[in-house]
Symmetry: C2
Subunit: 275 residues, 2 copies
């Protein structure tokens, strides 16, 4: 390993100030900074750092007993990235809660592309996931994980969606937040107008959708639109686009939005030969 | 409403002892008792209580400003079930954390059926979800929600799966834990032997599965088997049954087990005309 390990014995050590009380701070957001947890996400961070798309690792903090197993992965980071090591007691005192995984990294993202830039960079055959009003970080993370699994080229969130760079969303996404390009801005109406102008066939998912999921036809450019948890897509939006439904038992509550996203992406990716 | 409301002004009031510190106690388990959270789950509890399948409501605790909107639903419970009402401060002091929903119920389940009883009660056309080693309550809850959405007749868990009656699993299931029959006992090998003996065609889901999900044939009795988070199904099990895979991009991590369950159930329910 290139980088010498830096031992941390005091939770108040200024070198690891960025890792202090991440659980609470997670809720407030910090400009450009994010927390990556666990080995798999650390690996995604190393890949994103190398790819140079505006994501950089700033520091790594490890539980002492995790170091040996991670030496290979640590070599994937440039040696300017400091690697701190702490005992379990110090590690938990820093993080503010019991961190079973013992693997944390602090990263920085230099903004996200604008929606226009993102769409402008898409090829003639593209699959886009669009969403409005996603407010739950678990669902946000799951949607990224599903998007990565089914070859989504970009995710477009409206301005009312929560921030994918929160710790829990990144963790649930198993790091896919760092690999799948996304934008988060503006209204859902502006997003749909842009997608229509760029030749995307837009399918809004809803229990009241007109077309069965299995009857969606392949198209060079497809956008799948998901609505907010609970309420789903508003009628005004559903009236302006093609709508699809997932066959399910009639009942009080429809599928979870992340699960519905997975089912719909699986179908659309399959018929378009993306998987 | 039949039941007079009982005002609670002291978090230490013995009448609401069952609701105290539910967040922590959730982790320890309590024989037969469970916590239902939120209006939708309360409605499922009322239905389960009426159905008389061994699930009974013991008490209801509401935030004072939720009472008016719930009068209709409260009438669905027998009047022996006490309804307690508290201010936000008292309510949170009882529950031990900030309960935005302000709707809690304490229920009791008189055990779950044995696997043999459960399978013995299934019809000639049945869809079973089977799982081994599910350890995460979010995934557990999501699997129930998906099972309900796609008409699963019974869920069989092996003895290593976590308890679906934990608060968070019930909440994530949107109450489906109270409506979809399940058993939880024994080894996965014993479960598969029983299912085979009863004429079930068993499909194990795995990224290494031999058959594409879309090529699964309809069958009167189908069982879908899911493995533990992370590791999936062990090779010894995969070698002994039919295996299916969900088409997805090659990568480090496969789909979340709950999402994979949703995608597979949607497919199997559709080809068997259950939805």
């Amino acid at each position: 390993m290139d980088t010498p390990l830096q031992r941390i014995d005091d939770p108040a050590d200024q070198r690891i100030a960025g890792f202090v009380s991440i659980r609470e701070r997670d809720l407030t957001g910090r400009q450009g900074l994010f927390i990556a947890e666990g080995t798999v996400v650390l690996r995604m961070l190393a890949a994103a750092h190398k790819a140079g798309g505006g994501i950089a690792a700033e520091a790594i903090l490890l539980l002492e007993n995790r170091v040996d197993g991670l030496r290979g992965l640590l070599c994937e980071f440039p040696k300017e990235v400091p690697v701190y090591v702490a005992s379990a007691a110090v590690f938990d005192a820093i993080a503010g809660f019991n961190m079973h995984r013992g693997v944390l990294a602090l990263g920085r993202r230099a903004g996200v592309p604008s929606m226009d830039t993102l769409i402008g960079g898409l090829g003639p055959r593209s699959l886009v996931l669009a969403a409005c009003g996603i407010s739950n970080h678990d669902n946000m993370g799951s949607m990224f994980r599903n998007a990565a699994a089914f070859g989504v080229d970009a995710i477009l969130f409206d301005e009312t969606c929560c921030d994918p760079m929160y710790r829990k969303a990144i963790r649930v996404s198993v790091g896919s937040v760092l690999s799948v390009p996304y934008s988060r801005e503006g209204s859902i109406e502006a997003m749909l107008a842009k997608l229509q102008g760029e030749g995307f066939v837009i399918w809004g998912l809803s229990p009241r959708g007109a077309t069965e999921l299995g009857d969606i036809a392949p198209a060079p450019r497809t956008a799948l639109l998901m609505g907010t948890e609970g309420e789903g897509l508003p009628q005004s939006i559903l009236s302006s686009i093609r709508t699809a439904r997932i066959r399910q038992r009639p009942g009080l509550d429809s599928l979870n939005v992340a699960t519905a996203t997975g089912i719909a992406l699986h179908q659309v990716a399959t018929i378009n030969g993306l998987v």
